[in-house]
Structures are given as structure tokens and as C-alpha cells.
């Protein structure tokens, strides 16, 4: 048991257990908000609803897209730097 404990890098595992869920959630949240932003902005434009709502949803779409792309680019950087 002692041997196994000595081999395992608990620090890395601990970090993995909180960073990976955070990264996974970042992907899901940013992309889902991107879909909502584009869908709602499009609806607001078509239905002629308030310009402010349309602009707010467009802003949500742009910010979410930027955040999602940033996560993806960071992923590519990790792959390249390995």
C-alpha cells in the first residue's frame, strides 16, 4: 500500500479532478450560450422585437463565441506545446 501511495502523483490527480470539469463546463456553457445568443438575436430581428433585446442577444452570441474559441485555441496550444 505504501509503495502504491509513493508512486501515485496525488498532486497532479487532484489538479486534474478540478481543472478538467472546469474546462468541460467552460466548453458546454460557452457553446450553449452561443447557440442561445444567435437563435434569440435572429428571432428578435425577424419578429421586429425591441432593438435592445436583439443587440443584447447579439452581444451574448459574440462574447460566447469568443470565449468558446479561446478555450479551443488553448486546447490546440496544449497539443502543440506538448
Amino acid at each position: 500500500m505504501g509503495l502504491i501511495s509513493a508512486v501515485i502523483e496525488w498532486g497532479k490527480i487532484g489538479e486534474l479532478l478540478w481543472v478538467a470539469p472546469l474546462a468541460g463546463l467552460a466548453v458546454a456553457i460557452t457553446y450553449s450560450f452561443m447557440i442561445v445568443g444567435f437563435a434569440r438575436a435572429d428571432e428578435a430581428r425577424r419578429d421586429g422585437d425591441g432593438r435592445i433585446a436583439g443587440m443584447a442577444y447579439s452581444l451574448l452570441a459574440v462574447v460566447s463565441t469568443a470565449a468558446f474559441l479561446a478555450v479551443v485555441v488553448y486546447g490546440v496550444v496544449i497539443i502543440v506545446k506538448k
Binding site: L3, I4, A6, V7, I8, E9, K12, I13, E15, L16, L17, V19, A20, P21, A23, G24, L25, A26, V27, A28, I29, Y31, S32, F33, M34, I35, V36, F38, A39, R40, V72, G75, V76, I78, I79, V80, K81, K82
Partner: protein, 376 residues
């Protein structure tokens, strides 16, 4: 002359392993994309093949770590490597035959353990390394991906819950192009380099390269990248079918969550220097995305078969690797033994594939894209 023949055969066997690695692991990156119709089967394998090819050129850091910490480096000979490769290829083909996703890396490690054990005894096996590089990651990868994908799909459903399904499905299908490409790139970077490392080790053991600097020759990089991408393009359709539709019947949001969570787990682990099997991660992700929606949505019988295949990967590939090495020694002369074992394996594989092809197009893209009603 004898050692030259062994080296040529080891290089050819390593490239054959690389092909089966690509072929076997195609499903990891694209099964969910095909299942949710984000991509057609042929477009999906083409995309994955291109990113696997590109990934092989990105970095050579993994190549130097092959078999490190598993068996003592100075004990490895080209014939031991040959036995290891035969063990890994045999296990990859056996699990493909039954449509079960399993880790090619663990199969290679198992083959190496078995082959080295028969050649040099138990003292050259580094048990600590096996625990750290095989057993622990095999427990963490699917559990973590299961949890992350499960939470991700719940969050995704919550965020997009009030939107029209058509828009949502189109959106997530588009997102799968990105996550699938990322997964393929990560796979190419990791797995093509295992073969590069194996060939380079054989070249060093043969005296063609300097042992002090682990420089991978360009022809090794190009041939390994080509073999894995060709294998990927060929497509392991049986495993794609298992991962894409037999574990859960998934919608585009679930496919995206499984792939997104899988990419996040694989890349985070890679960043921390704790590499995980892409097969274990994506399988766990698919099960998590299904179970979070409804526990009964997961076909637990299929999941159990997959878990059993994972548990058997190391011992079975070790036994085959050990047997292959042992058979090469029966004839005394190393080159003759290696040649005869190669011919035997080629014959067995040809017979198995020949039988399969005669039975129908179950190993082709056409079979995967044929509607179930048409097959019935």
C-alpha cells in the same frame, strides 16, 4: 544480416500496429459525429484522418517516452519489441472483431510486459510504472469523463431548454466539427508517436541511431503519420457503431457534450503530464451524457462488455506478446523465428478478414451508412 531482417520486420510490424491503432481508434473522435449526423461517415473519417496525420507532425515529445517506466530500457531488444507489437495488434483486431473499444496504448504496454517477461524474467518489469501509467489512468479516465459529460449535458439542456429543437440540433452538430477535430488532433499527436518511438527504439537497439540523443528520423515521422491516418480513413466501423449507437441513442447535444467533455479531460490530463486513453475517456463521456438524461438510457450490458474488454486488455495482450516472443525463440535463430511468426500472423489476419469480407460489407463505410431497415 539476421539482425537486419529482424529490424525490417519490426519496422513493418510497427507500421502495421500504427494502422490498426488508427483503424481501431477512429471511433473515439467521430462515432458521436456520425451518430448525430453532424457529418457523413466518409466525411468524418476523412476529417479524422487529416487531423491524425497533422497531429503526428506537431510534436515528438511522446515518442521518447514509449515503454519508459514499464520495462527496463536496457533490456529491450528488437525481438522483444516484435513480440509486444504482435500482442498489441492481435488484441486490437480481436476487440475490433467484437466491436469493443479498448486502449491501443494499453495493448502495446501489455504486449511489451509479456514479451519482456518471457525474454528476461519478472525483474525487468517496473510494477510502479504499470500502476502509474496503466491501472490508475484506466480508473480515472472513464469516471472523470462520465462525470464531466453528465454535468455538461445537464447544463447544456438547462441553457438551451427554451429554444427551438431545430436550431439547437444544428448548433450542436456544428460544434461537433470543432470538438471532433480537436480530439483527432490530440489522438494523432499521442498515438502516431508511439509507433515513432517504437521504430526509433529498434533503430537504436540495432545501432543505426545514437542512443544518447533520441532523434526521430524524418522517414519514421512520415511513415508513422501515413500509417495511422490510413488506418483512420479505413475506419473501424464495428467500433464506431458500438460507440455511436449501441451504448446510448444520442442527440446532438449529448454528442457535443461527450466530445467536449472528452476533449477537456484528455487535454487537461495531457497538459499536466498525466496522459489518459482517448478510448476510455470518450467511452466514459458517452455513458455520462446518456446517464445524466436518464439512467436507463445507457445500455449497461454493452457498457459492461466494454469494461470487461478494458480489464482484459493488459493480461491478454501480455499473454499474446509473451507467446509471440516465445515462438520466435523456438527456432533458435532469431531471424527465422521472427519471419515464421510474421508469416503465421499475416496468414491468420488474412483468413479472418477474408471470412468477414465474404460474409458481407460489415467492415466498410457503406455498411455503416446503410439504414437499418435496408439491412434487415
Amino acid at each position: 544480416m539476421d539482425s537486419d531482417i529482424v529490424l525490417y520486420i519490426v519496422v513493418a510490424t510497427a507500421l502495421a500496429f500504427d494502422f490498426t491503432n488508427g483503424f481501431h481508434d477512429t471511433a473515439n473522435a467521430i462515432a458521436t459525429s456520425i451518430s448525430t449526423r453532424a457529418l457523413s461517415p466518409r466525411a468524418a473519417v476523412l476529417m479524422s484522418a487529416v487531423f491524425n496525420f497533422a497531429g503526428a507532425f506537431v510534436s515528438l515529445a511522446v515518442a521518447a517516452t514509449v515503454a519508459q517506466g514499464i520495462v527496463q530500457a536496457d533490456a529491450v531488444t528488437p525481438t522483444i519489441v516484435f513480440g509486444a507489437l504482435i500482442g498489441a495488434i492481435a488484441w486490437n483486431l480481436a476487440t475490433w472483431w467484437f466491436g469493443l473499444p479498448s486502449s491501443s496504448s494499453h495493448a502495446l504496454i501489455g504486449g511489451m510486459i509479456g514479451s519482456a517477461f518471457v525474454a528476461k524474467g519478472a525483474s525487468v518489469i517496473e510494477v510502479d510504472g504499470v500502476i502509474e501509467k496503466v491501472i490508475l489512468p484506466a480508473l480515472i479516465a472513464p469516471t472523470l469523463a462520465f462525470t464531466v459529460a453528465g454535468v455538461s449535458i445537464l447544463v447544456a439542456y438547462r441553457v438551451v431548454g427554451r429554444q427551438r429543437p431545430g436550431v439547437v440540433n444544428r448548433g450542436y452538430r456544428l460544434g461537433q466539427l470543432v470538438t471532433g477535430s480537436l480530439f483527432s488532433l490530440a489522438h494523432g499527436t499521442n498515438d502516431a508517436q508511439k509507433t515513432m518511438g517504437i521504430i526509433t527504439l529498434a533503430l537504436i537497439a540495432h545501432g543505426n541511431l545514437n542512443a544518447d540523443s533520441f532523434d526521430v528520423p524524418t522517414w519514421v515521422v512520415v511513415s508513422s503519420a501515413t500509417a495511422i491516418s490510413l488506418g483512420t480513413y479505413f475506419g473501424g466501423w464495428r467500433i464506431i457503431r458500438t460507440m455511436g449507437s449501441r451504448i446510448i441513442k444520442m442527440d446532438p447535444a449529448q454528442g457535443f457534450s461527450a466530445q467536449g467533455a472528452g476533449s477537456a479531460v484528455v487535454l487537461t490530463a495531457s497538459h499536466l503530464g498525466f496522459p489518459l486513453s482517448t478510448t476510455h475517456v470518450i467511452s466514459g463521456g458517452i455513458m455520462g451524457a446518456g446517464a445524466a438524461k436518464r439512467l436507463s438510457a445507457v445500455r449497461w450490458g454493452v457498457a459492461g462488455n466494454i469494461a470487461l474488454a478494458w480489464a482484459l486488455t493488459l493480461p491478454c495482450s501480455a499473454v499474446i506478446g509473451g507467446l509471440a516472443y516465445g515462438m520466435t525463440q523456438v527456432f533458435g535463430d532469431e531471424a527465422l523465428g521472427v519471419v515464421l511468426v510474421s508469416l503465421l500472423v499475416i496468414g491468420l489476419v488474412a483468413a479472418a478478414f477474408g471470412t468477414r469480407v465474404r460474409r458481407g460489407p460489415a467492415i466498410t463505410a457503406a455498411a455503416s451508412s446503410t439504414p437499418a431497415s435496408a439491412k434487415a
